[in-house]
């Protein structure tokens, strides 16, 4: 073997050996066991402490409250959604007392009026709704009930009521268009209010020959959008004509 080749061979062997040794010390032990990462990192993440313990853990001591709560309207609201994480309280029940939000500020986080919330979700206007009083003076947060059966449609249909209040239809009571039985207040979805069925209903005020105040805009029922029901173009709670 020529000398230069053997020298190169020795050099390369040393380089490769160096690489193997360096890899042995530099690459973490668990790297590549599960994939192109340190398997030990997964164990480190798994070993982290749990802080939110869940309703079952709360029930092991506070079964009286959990029993009421699990049947009430707030049953889907976890204990720790209001009281904060319970792990520290479980470790040392007297040293770590979970906070109980008694001030007015916390309930509107869910129940303050915001048009972005889904329609039908119970909401109040925190400014106008019994100002200053803490919510818990009237409502039991574990088993909340509306203080009385809703007297006004706006108690539940606040979004519609607020929209209508600034529209041209502001002075029309809801019941002018919707026949609503008393049962609707008890089982709202099983006894639904009626809706105007035909064009003639709107025509009672808006048709050319209607017997209604002159200021109300008139249309010719025969030629005006005769293929559609009125509500298909107009939103009756906020008519577009201004």
């Amino acid at each position: 073997m020529p000398q230069q080749i053997s020298r190169l061979l020795i050099l390369f062997t040393l380089l490769i050996l160096g690489l193997v040794v360096a890899r042995h010390y530099l690459v973490p032990k668990t790297f590549g066991r599960l994939g192109h990462y340190r398997a030990a990192a997964v164990d480190a993440i798994v070993a982290r402490n749990v802080k939110y313990v869940g309703r079952e853990a709360c029930a092991s001591c506070h079964d009286d409250i959990v029993k009421i709560h699990s049947l009430a309207r707030h049953q889907t609201v976890a204990c720790e959604a209001c009281h904060g994480p319970g792990a520290a309280h479980m470790e040392a029940p007297t040293e770590h007392k979970p906070p109980a939000p008694r001030k007015r500020g916390s309930c509107p986080l869910c129940h303050g009026y915001d048009p972005s919330r889904p329609t039908g979700f119970p909401q109040i206007d925190p400014v106008a709704h019994n100002p200053v009083k803490p919510c818990i003076t009237c409502h039991n947060p574990h088993a909340p009930e509306p203080p009385q059966v809703p007297g006004e449609c706006s108690a539940c249909h606040g979004q519609i009521a607020r929209t209508k209040a600034v529209s041209h239809h502001a002075l029309l009571p809801c019941t002018r268009c919707h026949e609503t039985s008393q049962q609707h207040k008890v089982t709202p979805r099983l006894s639904r209010p009626t809706k105007p069925r035909d064009r003639a209903f709107c025509g009672e005020c808006h048709a050319k020959d209607a017997r209604s105040p002159k200021e109300i805009p008139r249309i010719d029922m025969a030629s005006h959008g005769e293929r559609y029901a009125c509500w298909q173009c107009h939103y009756p709670h906020d008519p577009e004509l201004r």
């Binding site: 994939g35 990462y37 340190r38 990192a41 749990v50 869940g54 994480p85 986080l109 979700f121």
Partner: protein, 266 residues
């Protein structure tokens, strides 16, 4: 061989003392078979009851979010920060809530003041709005994650159960993954100076608990479960809702599934 040794007996009927004619074999055989079966079943059954050991390969996680149920209370973002020790400053989030207001002139305004933890200011528009709603966001735990692809040291990775995690001891803080994530779900942790993101509460789900955000959601807008299993809350959610994912055109294959998602949501 025995037949040959006794030439007087016809070959069809083996002698009574022959150890293995068919009838005798079946008669003796069934208890043995039963024993074998029991022996096979019992250890596996007891193994299941003992099996506190978590098997990552048996799971594949995803999350469902029903936009139509989100009330924007921010309890998820708050619980997440507590559970995962996320810095409290208003720019570090594992999960957060965005409020979309689509105005009548077509403009879309997206806000997320402190992730929604302290609630949202009243919606004020001069022109009124067409639609408005809340959208909870978090790491989408993509099946084909760009962040994992770009990591130069293998510090971010997908576990066998489909969760994208960060190895904070191995991360060099190059921020490449933060740039690569199309959902803005990652940030550089101000104390460790390494990348951080939602872990699907991996320390909880491996113990059989729900992620903190799912557990505290008061309206059940968040659903967590197995992607491939048919008997999982997530499977039910995906059966009964029209499902969309965020930025499907990027082929990241997100495993956070949205129901009732508006087309304006990016």
């Amino acid at each position: 061989m025995t037949n040959q040794a006794r030439p007087g007996i016809p070959a069809q009927s083996p002698p009574a003392d022959s150890p293995l004619d068919r009838r005798a074999f079946l008669k003796k055989g069934w208890p043995a078979t039963l024993l074998l079966l029991v022996a096979k079943v019992v250890p596996s059954a007891s193994g299941e009851t003992k099996g506190a050991e978590y098997q990552a390969s048996e799971h594949y996680y995803g999350m469902g979010i029903d936009v139509g149920k989100c009330i924007g209370c921010g309890r998820c973002a708050d619980a997440c920060k507590t559970e995962n020790d996320v810095p409290r400053q208003p720019f570090y989030f594992f999960t957060w809530i965005e409020r979309y207001v689509i105005k009548t002139d077509g403009e879309t305004v997206v806000e997320s003041p402190n992730g929604g933890i302290e609630g949202f200011p009243p919606t004020v528009t001069e022109t009124g709005f067409l639609r408005t709603f809340f959208v909870p966001k978090l790491c989408n735990h993509c099946a084909s994650p760009p962040c994992v692809q770009v990591c130069p040291v293998g510090a971010t990775f997908t576990t066998p159960d489909g969760v994208v995690l960060v190895d904070k001891d191995y991360c060099i803080g190059c921020r490449y993954c933060i740039q690569a994530c199309p959902y803005g779900a990652r940030f550089l942790h101000p104390q460790t100076h390494t990348a951080a993101k939602c872990t699907f509460c991996y320390h909880r789900v491996t113990k059989g608990l729900l992620p903190a955000c799912v557990g505290v959601c008061p309206t059940g807008a968040r659903i967590f479960g197995e992607v491939h299993l048919r008997t999982s809350p997530l499977a039910r959610f995906r059966r009964f809702n029209e499902i969309q994912v965020l930025k499907p055109h990027l082929n990241t294959e997100p495993k956070v599934y949205y129901a009732n998602l508006d087309g304006e949501v990016k």
